[in-house]
Each structure stands twice: as C-alpha cells, then as structure tokens.
Amino acid sequence: MTDATNSGAQAPKTSLIAHDARTKKRNSAEKRFRAYGVTAIGIGLFFLTVLFYSILKSGLPAFTTTVLSVEFTMTQEQYDEAEGTMLKTAKYQGFFNDGLAAQLAETGVEVEYDAKTIERIAGKTGNLIRAHYQENPNTIGSPVTFDLPTSSRVNRYINGEFTKDEVEDSRFLEAADLDLVDVMLASGTIRTVFDWNFITGKDSGVDNPGGAGIGASVIGSFFMMLVVLVLSLPIGVAASIYLEEFAPKNRWTDLIEVNISNLAAVPSIVFGILGLAVFIQFMHLPQSAPLVGGLVLTLMTLPTIIISTRASLKAVPPSIRDAALGIGASKMQAVFHHVLPLAMPGILTGTIIGLAQALGETAPLLLIGMVGFVAREYPEGFIQGFVEPNSAMPAQIYTWASRADAGFYEKAWGGIIVLLAFLLTMNIIAIILRRRFERRW
C-alpha cells in the first residue's frame, strides 16, 4: 500500500514509503545530533593524540643519556704516580684523555681537539676515574671500559634540539667541539644508552640535569600514598557506612551530606594552606615530610572515597538487606556480611581513583614545602620515609620545570611520563578489581 487514496477513512492515509515533512525533520535532527556527537569525540581524540605525542616526543629523551665510552688500561705505575701528586684528579683526567686519544687514533680521526674540548664534552672526568680505582683497586693493570656521561648540552645536541650553526661559543660549549662529537658518534665512542639513573636516581643540583633522577621523589610519593591509603580508606568507608546504613535521615545528616559533596569541590590549594596551618604551624610536624603531604592529601581524598562508597552501598539492592534482617541478622551483620562484600568493587575502584587523583596533586604540596625541596637523598629507613623531608613526583616535575638549565625541561617531561605510567597502572588495577569482584544479583 503506497498510495493514500482511500477516501473512506476520516484522516487521509499516509504512505510508509514517502516520508512526510515531520518525519523528515525528525530524522534530520537525529542525524545532526549524531554528527555533533561524532565530532565531539573526534575533537577529544585529536587533543588526546596531540597531548600524548607531545609528551612522548619531549619526554622520551629523558630516559636516555649519551655516554662517552673509553676503554683503557691503567698500570700500577700510573696509579702510584697519580696518587703521588698534588692534583690527583687532573692526573687521572690526563690518563683518560690519553686513552681517548689512543682510541680515536685507532679509528683514524682527523679532528683538532685539546683537553679543554674533552672537558667541555664530558666534564671533569678525573673524579669519576679516581673513584672507580679507589673502589676497585683490583682492576688496575687490566682494561676497563668507562661510560662517562656527556654534558647536558652535548646530550641535547645529539637529541637534535639544536644544530651546530646555532651554537654561540661559550665556556660551556664551542661549535668546533661538535665536530669532534660528530666523529665520536660515528665511531661509537659516544653512545646513547638507557638512563636507569633517571628512574632510580636522586635529584641533582641545579647545574647538573644529566644526573637528575626521579627515584627519590617516587619514594616520597609512595610514602605519601601509604599515609593516604591507611587513613582515608578506613575513615572514608566507616563514615559512608554509618551515613548510608545507620544514621537517621534528618536535618543534621542532610547538612553533613551537602558538606561532603561541597568538600569534594574545594580547590586543593585550600587543603594545602589548611595543612600548613594545622599540621606544620600548630602541630609542629616536620616540613616537606611525606607524612604531612599524606595527611593533606587524605583530607582531599576523603570526600571522593565517601561519595563513591556511598554510591556503591546505595547500589546494593535493598532486598539483600531485607533478606538478612528477615532471618534475624543484626543491622551490622547484614551490612558487614552481605552489603559490604557486594559494594566492595565500587569502594575499591573509588579508592584507587581517589589515590590516583592524590598522586598527581601538586598545589597542596606547594604550601607544605615539598615543591622546591631538592630530594638529594633516599630516606634511611621505613619510619624516616615518613618524616624526613622529601619531594613527590608532581612536586619534582614542577621543580624541574622551573629550573633554568634547559636540560631540566626534558627531565620534567620525562617525569610526567613516569607519573602517567603510575596513574595508568592504578587505573588498570581499578578496572581489573572491578571486573574480578563484580557479582550479579
């Protein structure tokens, strides 16, 4: 039936094949809406791609370092001679330069250079050489390969951040030095290696980006997260169970509920200044300590955990509570034996999300002195880990980003990659936990 000629009916019959104006309008509205949706998702994905690309591009060089690799043998006589002089390290540096010259001669290099050039490329090498032989006297007389880190400028040149033409000669680097670098790169004397020190190492001084590592602040973040987890999980879960299952519904509990929701929206720097006033100025807890950072972040994480825990408790069907109460379980037994296990995946997910949020939080750490603190040392033990001054990952990134030496710029990006890797891991754990513990009822 495609025509509308049946005159018997009161309303004119319409065809199903030919759409009327209303249907057309409705369909095109739907099409437009879908197009908006796809566009929105597309824009989101585009920005995400750009973000990841730029992070990886700027950050990945932080994970590698260039080393000047020289193999030479120090004889016992040379060692004794060096130890016998006043300027011991200069002597060692001389031996190193001789070894390097011999190595370069083997490969047939024809570039003019002097000891100063080597110093500009690899820094004062004598210290490191001497330290090696002091620690390993048994290697005297046998060939040893030294992998000495090159200066941050050479490193950046090799990473392609500037070209030879852009170099202005200074006491740090001259354009002519880079000819030698090119040659050494070609012959394999300068190599690019994975920089374990960046992951496990401590922060360095402001003039040595090459030696800076994020390890110490990872430890700081770890202790902070430990404080947050130990405090906010039990407090948050207990508060939500009480509010959701036991508390009478009256004006006071309504007020508390509204305030918890508001707390979740309070800017984190407010918690920071609260922490400064209460924990440091009033309670005299140590500055820059992960303990204080953890306490401040606990305050910040609690509302998140309470809200997600209450939501997952609400999601447990009331029939389960009725069932337990109906066979004579007490309220507490009903909650702990039946409701809580069912709400567990939601609670765990909420907690991990809260922790991940706290892990990346910088603003409150500004005010309690964790930003700007140079984490030069690992904590000595477990207890010290909480109370000794330390930095944290986001604080370390912030510190690096504000340092003058351009070498720290890529360290900051690299730090962001490490931080994102941690966040991603935590989110994946949250997803796995949710999948594993999810039960149907």
Partner: protein, 265 residues
C-alpha cells in the same frame, strides 16, 4: 487443597500464636493501618487479601518489626507473640526476627552458594555446634523447603543461579533453617510462573504442620487454595476475618463480597 469443597475444610481451634490489639501504623502523616484486631492461630495458614495499597503488607511487616527499618514508620497498639508484646522496649528486634521468619515477594537469595544461603541463619544464631551439625540443619531445611533433591549435588553453586521458583523455595528453606515459630510470606508467588507457584503452595501446606504461616497474596484463588483463615483488608481497615471457607462463600461484609466477586479492587 480442593477448591470445590471449601465448606468441608476442617478448621480445628488452635492456640493463638499472634494477637494484635488496636494496631495503628503510620507512615509519616499517612495512617496506613487503622484499629486492626486479629488473632493468628498456631499451625494454621492465615491469608491476608485485599486490593493494592490496603495495608496488608504493612501489617505483615509490623508482625516481625521489619517496619523498624523505615524511618518514618510508627506503630501503635499491641502485638502479642505468645502473650509477649513484641513492641516492648526490652524486645530485641533481632531476636524477634529469629522467631518470626520472613519470605519476600521477590526471591532474594544471597549471592553466595546454596549451602551458605541456608547456613547463614544457623551460623549467626549459633544453632550448630560443628560442621556436621550444620550440614544436618542445612539438609533438613532444604528438605522442608522441598528443594533438596534438586540442589543436593550442587550445594556449592551460587543460589542466584537457580530458577525463580527454586530461588523462592531456597529462600523458604533459608527462613525455616533458623527454626522460626511463625513464617511470614509477602506475596511469595507473585514473581513465579504457575508451575513454581503450585510447588510453593504445596510447600506452604506442608509447612503448616510445624509453623504458623501468614501469607499476603493478591490472588484470591491462592488464598482459597492454601489458607484456613482469611483476613480481608481494605483502605487500612481489617474488614473481615474468618475461616477461609466462610469468607469466600458467605462473606458478612458487603465490601468483602464486592472484592471477591471482582467489583472492587
């Protein structure tokens, strides 16, 4: 269990298990139950019938103080279980609910194994001294729930994996496992198909030997099939209460007659 000869059904006078006197239930300002007086006999199935919202479920839930979990709900009057007022200040509702078990409208097994579902009550009430005791209690309860043969080989499988009718019988088994004296059933068959309903009804008839059973139902046929006594509720009032045969064949109140003949409700 024969609908056609309701009149012939023997009703012996049994001891009174629950006596309700002038019971009023309020939900906030809403007066949900008005002046209800009823005597529920022991070892008898008592059916509460009436249109939706007439308060029969509310009254049922006040018999084991399940209404306590609703903040705005208030109960006045006396409900005596074996002569003791269950709303006395000294009564622990938890202890009361162990004596007065409840089966709900929707089957609600715990998301645990069949065994743990039934064993939960005895465990929290300390009814079993050891594992063998508990096994015995679970088997007995499942047999009383008329589901033992169907589940004996898969006691460790989740209770939620059973069919609707099996789940409801599991819930009944779970309720009887704590050795209650009264069993309250809130529309236990409304979520079940006719076959499962028939099984549960048969089970209710068997349970009468040991318990006082109170059942709320929307189905008048079901009330007629399973109960010895019937109470008709309308708009929060107990309109008529008597032997099932009399209620269905010769009601005194015109409202009862209108309801069972389908003119109201």
């Amino acid at each position: 269990m024969n609908d056609m000869r309701l009149i012939d059904r023997a009703v012996d006078m049994k001891d009174i298990k629950i006596a309700a006197r002038d019971v009023q239930v309020y939900y906030g300002d809403n007066h949900a139950i008005k002046d209800v007086n009823v005597d529920i006999a022991d070892k008898t199935v008592t059916a509460f019938i009436g249109p939706s919202g007439c308060g029969k479920s509310t009254f049922l839930r006040s018999l084991n103080r399940m209404n306590d979990t609703i903040d705005i709900c208030r109960v006045e009057g006396n409900i005596l279980l074996d002569g003791e007022d269950i709303y006395d200040k000294q009564v622990d509702p938890v202890q009361l609910r162990a004596k007065v078990g409840m089966v709900f409208q929707k089957p609600n097994p715990f998301p645990k194994s069949i065994y743990d579902n039934v064993a939960y009550g005895p465990r929290i009430h300390g009814l079993a001294k050891n594992k063998a005791d508990l096994d015995e209690i679970v088997e007995k309860a499942l047999r009383r729930g008329a589901i033992w043969d169907e589940v004996k080989d898969r006691l460790d499988k989740p209770g939620t994996g059973l069919s609707g009718g099996q789940q409801q019988r599991l819930c009944i088994a779970r309720a009887v496992a704590t050795e209650p004296e009264v069993l309250l059933m809130d529309e236990p068959c409304s979520a079940l198909d006719p076959i499962a309903t028939a099984q549960v009804e048969e089970l209710i008839d068997e349970l009468r030997e040991n318990y006082s059973v109170v059942i709320v139902t929307h189905s008048m046929q079901q009330a007629a099939r399973v109960s010895q006594k019937t109470a008709f509720f309308h708009l929060g009032n107990l309109v008529e209460y008597g032997e099932t045969g009399q209620i269905f064949t010769n009601p005194v109140d015109p409202r009862t007659e209108s309801y069972i003949t389908g003119r109201i409700g």
